[in-house]
């Protein structure tokens, strides 16, 4: 069964450093999402792509976060500089609009900022 791939699975970085996460969605899924999940809470959408275009980045802290999906396939989420409050799980998901936007999630990247 096709899966969403994410790397790395775990990342420890010092504050003020740059960090990047990678996501490869399920083949053929045009919509890709990045979520941030703080421990004990539900995921919150950071950015949504339709193919290579951003359709929603209203909750993305644009002063330090950036996301791209250059060829409309895989995607990178970057944080520069990282802050202590960025420690969280970063989840990538993809969906096919023909299936009522049911989303398939990757395993996530657990970020710890020290």
């Amino acid at each position: 069964e096709a899966e969403v791939a994410q790397s790395p699975r775990y990342k420890i970085t010092e504050k003020s450093q740059a960090v990047a996460f990678w996501c490869d969605p399920i083949s053929g899924h045009a919509t890709l999402y990045w979520y941030r999940q703080i421990l004990g809470q539900g995921p919150e959408l950071l950015v949504q792509f339709q193919d290579e275009s951003v359709v929603d980045d209203s909750q993305l802290p644009k002063d330090r976060f950036s996301a791209e999906r250059l060829k409309g396939v895989d995607s990178t989420l970057k944080i520069q500089p990282a802050e202590l409050g960025d420690s969280a799980m970063y989840l990538c998901a993809s969906s096919d609009r023909d299936r009522d936007w049911e989303q398939y999630f990757g395993p996530g990247t657990r970020l710890t900022v020290t």
């Binding site: 999402y33 809470q41 359709v55 609009r97 989303q103």
Partner: protein, 111 residues
């Protein structure tokens, strides 16, 4: 910002018992979805119910939706220790597909 609230926040039951989790939301929706998350892992889609549906079944799962009360419930029958996880409801408001999650219910099923 979270769309809704889930109740209870935590639930502990014995194997074989039924587990019921409730979700309330604030705005009109296109559909509502339930996801499971095992500790420290990604989310797994369980079931989706459209706004024009009232009840849906999938194996041991039963979901109800009351759009007049803006609420949904997830029933897991004959629970197993392997059902131990966090359960999240999430709503889709429009055709854009953006999911807005609740805070989740942490279910513990004791053998």
């Amino acid at each position: 910002s979270q769309q809704g609230e889930e109740d209870p926040q935590a639930l502990s039951i014995q194997e074989g018992e039924n587990a019921t989790m409730n979700c309330s939301y604030k705005t009109s929706i296109n559909n509502l979805q339930w996801y499971r998350q095992n500790s420290g892992r990604g989310l797994v889609h369980l079931i989706l119910i459209r706004s024009n549906e009232r009840e849906k079944h999938s194996g041991r799962l039963r979901v109800t939706l009351d759009t007049s009360k803006k609420s949904s419930s997830l029933l897991i029958t004959a629970s197993r220790a392997a059902d131990t996880a966090s359960y999240f409801c999430a709503t889709v408001r429009n055709q854009g597909g953006k999911l807005i999650f609740g805070q989740g219910t942490e279910l513990s099923v004791k053998p």
